[in-house]
């Protein structure tokens, strides 16, 4: 028993960190209605890596990682400047277009890079089980820095994410806050995808916050309960993966996914349930 806990300790800690930060961002993302943004970001990051490789840097080098981050931040920064009110298409469509074109470019470039097909976000790569305490610490530090930014500016971010209060704020201020929000979000996504893989990140971003948003109305509750659902979900998922010998990431994803759907249908079909505050 002790060995199991010892073995599972780093992955569980890492998952809890991930669930925490992604649950927070997820509540915002849900409110802004740009659900698939992290998949788009992940693909753009991969594209950045490919460009780095094409320029001749070695795969493990710091330059490639840097290029990947920079490229992502540039793209996501430009996205933040889009004038969502006057846009003729919904922001999610823009996300879709970015993802689509990013993927197309990656497919074309994959020809010229040995082993290039690994950079196309199609598979469930990434396994949080291999994470070391080193990496966990690394993540914790990064997330605390970003967390700090968000604690300080938290209320302002909520104001611009919430569609009801967003347009009451002067345009320039909104733009600046948007930029900071998306940049920090971009960094978090790139980091978490490196640690846990795209599907885990996607699910942790959306599922716990969806569940929380269905049950609660206030932002504070939504965020707190996303953490709780995300944390419990990953913990249970890892244990199931262990005891039933099922692939790890998929176990967590399926569990959280089922939970959300069951919750949704319970809410629809049981008339007496009313949303609490």
């Amino acid at each position: 028993m002790k060995e199991i806990l010892l073995f599972l300790a780093p992955p569980i800690t890492a998952s809890l960190l991930l669930a925490g930060i992604l649950g927070y961002f997820g509540t915002h993302i849900l409110s802004r209605g740009i659900i698939f943004i992290d998949i788009a970001v992940a693909q753009i990051a991969a594209l950045g890596t490919m460009i780095g490789l094409l320029l001749g840097f070695a795969e493990e080098s710091g330059q490639v990682q840097l290029l990947s981050y920079l490229f992502t931040l540039v793209v996501i920064g430009s996205f933040s400047f889009l004038n969502t009110k006057n846009l003729f298409i919904p922001p999610e469509a823009v996300i879709g277009i970015i993802y689509c074109i990013g993927l197309a470019l990656a497919l074309l470039l994959a020809e010229y890079i040995p082993g290039g097909s690994a950079y196309i976000t199609k598979s469930i790569t990434g396994n949080i089980l291999w994470v070391t305490w080193d990496k966990v610490l690394n993540c914790a530090m990064l997330f605390s820095v970003i967390g700090l930014i968000h604690i300080i500016l938290g209320n302002k971010f909520i104001a611009i994410s919430d569609p009801e209060t967003r347009f009451a704020i002067p345009g320039k201020k909104t733009k600046l806050l948007d930029l900071v929000f998306y940049l920090t979000f971009g960094i978090v996504v790139v980091k978490t995808v490196l640690v846990g893989g795209i599907f885990l990140v996607f699910t942790l971003l959306i599922a716990p916050s969806a569940a929380a948003s269905m049950l609660f109305n206030s932002w504070k509750n939504k965020i707190i309960w996303s953490w709780i659902f995300g944390g419990i979900g990953t913990l249970t998922g890892i244990l199931i993966s262990y005891y039933m010998n099922i692939s790890n990431g998929p176990a967590i994803v399926c569990l959280l996914g089922l939970f959300v759907f069951v919750l949704a249908f319970t809410k629809i079909f049981i008339p007496s349930k009313s949303s609490t505050n």
């Binding site: 060995e3 199991i4 073995f7 599972l8 992955p11 795969e59 493990e60 497919l107 040995p114 082993g115 097909s117 690994a118 950079y119 598979s123 469930i124 790569t125 990434g126 396994n127 089980l129 291999w130 994470v131 070391t132 080193d134 990496k135 490196l194 893989g197 890892i238 244990l239 993966s241 262990y242 005891y243 039933m244 010998n245 099922i246 692939s247 790890n248 990431g249 998929p250 176990a251």
Partner: protein, 366 residues
């Protein structure tokens, strides 16, 4: 209304332009394809040479050996590509359309080839026809599945298809290619047979060294190796010294490997390890695309620790990230090896590939 008319005319103009551009380009364009240099071909390709297309560069290298001046050999998958996923390009279909011989593994490894073959519309190279060569016929296949029923899709029911990693298999591959060549070009049969003997001899000598081959003959040695009785046999004395002392070639170079335990990322290496005595105690990701479970991961980490495993073989087409995470976690060394000929530019044939593997593993095995 005006807008629609101008749009329509724009479309028409664009149709015409794109149509003429492509027609023009076709006239001038040379199809780029994977083309192997013909070391022994002085005359250059002419209309009387046989067109051979192989799925992998390894088979192409062997085919060149056998077919020599009588054929132009091309292959589809890059040496660096994942053999399971090869995105189809138009030129591949063209290559296959003009092929006289299609050389493939024949064990459902090249799933991607079926769309290509369909589009190529070349009756001669379809399965069962005279131009189809399945190189795995007669190979002693490892890791067959016990279940007798067949299911659809992506399951290697017939066993491990990565036969190019075992030198003993090269002889079977060469034999199948020779048979195929003789079928479509019986006139030059003796030429092909002679090249085949040359090739087999070269494999024997590379494996065992000249001395033993001269003394006992390659076939004997190979069957001893296959039956795993080679080393007990070599304990025998002959003319005052142990036969073992006369051992040369790869078997000699890999003496230090025998019995060593390693881990492999995926099931690419089984034929290699069987031949040279390495023991694979576990696979990281036996089913690619399906991340291992927590239990499996713990088991692997435990095994690596318990048995002091220092080396993990990873085919170089895999992404480096996961193996590196494993290195960090367990202290094991991940050795990236190209799985095929031309996986790195310096490796131009199967022998060089094997030399490279043995050299790299020797350097890194504790």
């Amino acid at each position: 209304m005006k807008k629609i008319i101008s749009q329509l005319s724009l479309i028409c103009i664009l149709f015409i332009i794109s149509g003429s551009v492509s027609a023009f380009c076709q006239g001038r364009h040379q199809h780029r394809h994977q083309h192997r240099h013909q070391h022994r071909n002085q005359g250059g390709a002419d209309n009387s040479t046989i067109n051979i297309v192989c799925s992998f560069s390894d088979y192409a290298a062997i085919a060149e050996y056998i077919a020599g001046v009588h054929a132009t050999v091309q292959h589809i998958a890059h040496g660096m590509q994942d053999p399971h996923f090869v995105p189809p390009k138009p030129s591949y279909a063209m290559m296959l359309n003009k092929a006289d011989l299609w050389i493939t593994t024949g064990m459902d490894l090249e799933m991607w080839s079926s769309t290509l073959i369909d589009k190529a519309r070349n009756k001669q190279i379809m399965d069962g026809e005279i131009g189809f060569v399945s190189v795995s016929d007669g190979v002693k296949v490892l890791q067959k599945v016990e279940k007798a029923d067949r299911t659809e899709g992506d399951i290697h029911l017939m066993g491990n298809p990565h036969i190019n990693t075992g030198p003993l298999n090269w002889k079977v591959i060469a034999k199948n290619i020779t048979t195929g060549l003789i079928k479509i070009d019986p006139v030059n049969a003796s030429y092909y047979q002679s090249n085949l003997s040359d090739f087999n001899d070269r494999v024997d000598r590379a494996l065992f060294g000249d001395d033993l081959v001269d003394m006992l003959g390659g076939e004997t040695l190979c069957s001893l190796l296959e039956n795993k009785t080679l080393f007990t046999f070599l304990e025998k004395d002959y003319q005052g010294e142990k036969l073992n002392n006369k051992l040369g070639g790869w078997m000699k170079q890999t003496e230090s490997f025998r019995g060593k335990k390693i881990v492999a990322y995926h099931k690419n290496w089984i034929y290699f390890t069987e031949t040279f005595g390495l023991e694979i105690v576990g696979y990281i990701e036996p089913k690619p695309g399906i991340p291992p479970s927590a239990k499996h991961v713990q088991h692997i980490i435990q095994t690596i620790e318990d048995q002091q495993i220092k080396l993990m073989l990873v085919a170089s087409y895999f992404e480096k990230k996961s193996p590196q995470m494993i290195e960090d976690k367990t202290g094991i060394k991940a050795l990236f090896l190209p799985l095929f000929v031309e996986g790195i530019p310096e490796i131009q044939d199967n022998f060089q590939l094997m030399d490279y593997w043995i050299e790299q593993i020797s350097k890194n095995i504790q």
